[in-house]
Symmetry: C2
Subunit: 278 residues, 2 copies
Amino acid sequence: MELLEEHRCFEGWQQRWRHDSAVLNCTMTFSIFLPPQRTATAPPVLYWLSGLTCNDENFTTKAGAQRVAAELGIVLVMPDTSPRGDAVADADSYDLGKGAGFYLNATQQPWAAHYRMYDYLRDELPALIAAEFKVSSRCAISGHSMGGHGALIMALKNPGRYTSVSAFAPIVNPLQVPWGQKAFTAYLGEDREQWRAWDSCVLMLESGEADAIPTLIDQGDNDQFLADQLQPARLAEAARQKSWPLTLRIQSGYDHSYYFIASFIEDHLRFHAQYLLK
Amino acid sequence: MELLEEHRCFEGWQQRWRHDSAVLNCTMTFSIFLPPQRTATAPPVLYWLSGLTCNDENFTTKAGAQRVAAELGIVLVMPDTSPRGDAVADADSYDLGKGAGFYLNATQQPWAAHYRMYDYLRDELPALIAAEFKVSSRCAISGHSMGGHGALIMALKNPGRYTSVSAFAPIVNPLQVPWGQKAFTAYLGEDREQWRAWDSCVLMLESGEADAIPTLIDQGDNDQFLADQLQPARLAEAARQKSWPLTLRIQSGYDHSYYFIASFIEDHLRFHAQYLLK
């Protein structure tokens, strides 16, 4: 691991690291916020997964999350959104390839050689964080848009792993929307049966009774992608059917931008803290 | 005026506007945050002046100031740092020309045709804000680095205009440091007597007894520019000689980045609110 940047921030440290990923078969960068050490207890971790076109720095610089994470004593880990580097396959559009890994394991060429963000986030990155930083085993996960999809599938596919999950304007039903259909066709192939393992609505409807964890979703009603790509009410309906403890909040006037995230990130951190710090 | 962007943010509105500036003889862009209207009173304004290489969006996206401005009911106005456009003179370096207007009125060619940021900020922009938005006449000013220099000279040259002034890592004595000497030579010419009207230390030492206003400066002690370009202790010494109410806080471990600004912007907003909201 190589430290690329380090900044004092709210009495803690904002750092950026580079490491070689065996899973992704490339060099990756992630950002981490380490809160000030105020107790002897190792702090829990909140993973943040970003949306299309982002890297590890969008949330880091724009969300203003460090203030509350410092107060609560929560480590923030911000991974990148796809494998990176000249050897990694890419596409000419913003919603496929680099910056658009969709947090899944690709099975189709040319993507399968590198696009395994799910395994990276499930196994390699948490092991690296545990080995290199003083953190507890308790963790939660959150994200925005494509990263909201990522946070939800990580939680739904790994019962018991996360104490809670939240999302801003997530893609909840990629099987049924243009962003998901395009990415899944490329990464997973034409057989739609294979897509079901990466769809939050499907996964929630198939979840076991003991799997449910507290879930918070915020959605702006002035979000340009709401009707075509997001439709969080579909996940709320699945949650209702399964008695899954999901709160969907519709925020009046807010759009898809980081101004929306910045406005409500404090609520999300305090929501996760209830379970992380138990 | 043309509205370029508008985002709901902390129950207020973050907007970006374009307008033709008569003073600067070019088209300019500024950002503004309008807090939620909670009382019948028109809110006061805090002007924020950014540093070298910045435009109106750096503070807007990275400082996290809107949260506290929304709570306190303060309008934030973020101007650009220089005139802009193809017709405007520029230099190949980051610290001269576009993005580096130094908040003065240039007298030398090729700069004098457009580089009049002082007049723009003193007259044209406040008149525009007063005409187009519901604001009170009370205002304060703050800034970072070159923008800290700008905030200080705006306050020192216009007694009675601002209720308070603050700065993060300001250039306080441009006459004596490389950034200031390079810019002032280009914009104002070789005659150093002409430079004195744009130097905070000189202006403070020449200020009248009744001119002093509450002043807050934060400076990180891990700032890479501290020794060569900033040296805020020089202004603190001038303040001591003049019994000017200046508080200089040295913040341990902090650097010159927006992580430093984000960490302490709440203190600055609450400092200004004491006087703005009287």
